[in-house]
């Protein structure tokens, strides 16, 4: 997996306004390329189409004009995508470990791989519990493990740490980086939290209001691990928020 070429000529959703059927233009000529091992954050206001973009890239939404193409290296011809949604979306009738095993259950050593991930997310004691007995933070850890289990080339995350306790969200972010560092898939991480975007991503794509365009495509050059209280971090945040505020007008 060398890179993904995203070319969306046009994407609309039908919109019912009073008695008329009209169209809501989400994207028009949105193009960008993501290179190997990049951790990209898509940042934008509510309703600007971030989730729609992920749905298009993942193949869940095929109703658009354009294409998403992957340019493959000769060594790995498979396009292996994982998606971590806003809600954990675990299967309630499966235990924690069975959920992690789910995308890889056709592999011979899936039990072993799943257990390794359960250990990495610190839920060994709970591997045979059903999701509805586990806390929200634990469920998200399992969803994260399930997303990484098939060793994806591309990992999509849709505001996965939204509305959780700050401490737990921080530990989940560290966990994400830890899991990413192993095989460095391309990560596309949607958020509307600028701190989170700067902390995690190599590159931040700022989306405008509808129809969404890329306002700014910024390469973050801070060293990892990144500290939200460091001078560089704070000044970068100030720069980015003022730039994009201007651009949005």
């Amino acid at each position: 997996m060398n890179q993904i070429n995203i070319e969306i000529k046009k994407k609309t959703f039908p919109l019912k306004t009073q008695n008329k059927q009209s169209e809501n233009l989400i994207f028009k000529n949105l193009n960008f390329i993501i290179k190997k091992s990049q951790f990209v954050s898509i940042f934008g206001p509510s309703g600007c189409g971030k989730t729609t973009l992920l749905n298009i890239i993942s193949g869940l939404d095929k109703d658009f004009d354009g294409s998403v193409q992957t340019v493959n290296s000769s060594t790995n011809p498979n396009k292996n995508i994982s998606y971590m949604f806003q809600a954990p979306r675990l299967f309630p009738w499966l235990t924690a470990i069975e959920n992690v095993k789910f995308p890889i259950k056709k592999k011979k050593n899936c039990e072993k791989i799943a257990f390794e991930f359960i250990k990495k997310i610190g839920l060994e004691r709970y591997k045979n519990q059903y999701p509805n007995r586990l806390s929200g933070g634990m469920q998200r850890r399992i969803a994260l493990a399930r997303a990484f289990a098939p060793n994806p080339n591309i990992l999509l995350l849709d505001e996965p740490f939204i509305s959780i306790d700050k401490k737990i969200a921080n530990s989940l972010r560290k966990l994400l980086i830890k899991l990413w560092k192993k095989n460095k898939p391309i990560i596309i991480f949607v958020t509307h939290d600028l701190d989170e975007a700067i902390e995690l991503a190599d590159r931040i794509c700022f989306l405008s209001n509808l129809p969404s365009k890329i306002l700014l495509d910024y390469e973050v050059n801070l060293n990892r691990p990144r500290n939200q209280n460091s001078k560089e971090f704070i000044s970068l945040k100030r720069l980015l928020s003022s730039t994009t505020r201007l651009e949005r007008k």
């Binding site: 979306r89 309630p92 009738w93 509805n132």
Partner: protein, 251 residues
């Protein structure tokens, strides 16, 4: 865990004992064997018939019940799931479903016997046709209620439609299968008895009709008690444990 189980079994046992006691008292008050024989009369009758052909007829009836049950569950579920997933098919078949639900069992049975003859196939078919609509309705509701977001997880991992159905759709329908199975069993065995009465020469329904023509209420109750006990055992020792196992993940 064992004390809970003991208490539960104890309570169930006591309540049945109590029922038998009331029955004994009322039958003594009435004092007429044709209207209400006592539990002791019925017990003796059970012993007598057991030594003759009781279990033969019970076995035949159970065979019909289970054949119709499995056929109705499979066919009804498939139709229900398809109607739940595809709106167009739902629109086409909904009218037929409502029609089928409202045709009386008796009419279906008689028509099957007339069209297909007074044979085993017609008998089981009549019961199956009767039960399919109720299974379909339950499974359709269940299918419409499934979480599409979980299906999307399967689509992301590029699972085939078959695998998504097997691994994501069907598990969400377990409670509906149990519900259809339970109401199905209860309904089916009653219709089987009517089918046997109308057009078969063996089985519990046939024997009950035979006893009715001789005003042998004791034997009717004997067969009834045995059959009901068997159905209750199926519910308590087969259906309920299955249900617990399939829905243990629910809080």
């Amino acid at each position: 865990m064992n004390t809970i189980l003991k208490n539960e079994l104890f309570r169930r046992f006591i309540s049945i004992l109590f029922l038998i006691l009331i029955w004994e008292i009322i039958s003594r008050i009435i004092g007429d064997k044709i209207i209400l024989p006592s539990p002791t009369d019925v017990a003796e009758s059970i012993k007598y018939h057991a030594s003759k052909d009781l279990f033969h007829h019970v076995y035949i009836t159970l065979l019909r019940v289970f054949t119709a049950f499995f056929l109705a569950m499979i066919i009804g579920s498939v139709i229900g799931i398809v109607m739940g997933r595809k709106k167009k098919i739902d629109d086409y078949l909904d009218g037929w479903l409502i029609l089928a639900l409202n045709v009386p069992a008796l009419v279906t049975i008689i028509l099957c016997f007339i069209w297909f003859g007074l044979n085993e196939v017609a008998a089981v078919l009549a019961v199956t046709i009767n039960k399919i609509p109720t299974v379909t309705v339950i499974l359709r509701e269940g299918t419409k209620a499934i979480d599409e977001k979980l299906i999307e997880v399967g689509k992301v991992y590029k699972m085939s439609k078959f695998d998504i159905t097997k691994d994501i759709l069907i598990p969400q329908l377990f409670p509906y299968f149990i519900s259809a199975a339970r109401s199905g069993l209860a309904l089916i065995w009653k219709i089987v008895l009517v089918v046997e009465l109308l057009g078969r020469s063996n089985g519990v329904g046939f024997k009950i009709y035979e006893f009715f023509s001789m005003f042998d209420v004791t034997s009717i109750l004997a067969y009834t008690v045995v059959f009901v006990l068997i159905i209750m055992s199926i519910e308590w020792f087969l259906v309920e444990p299955c249900e617990k196992k399939l829905t243990e993940w629910r809080l």
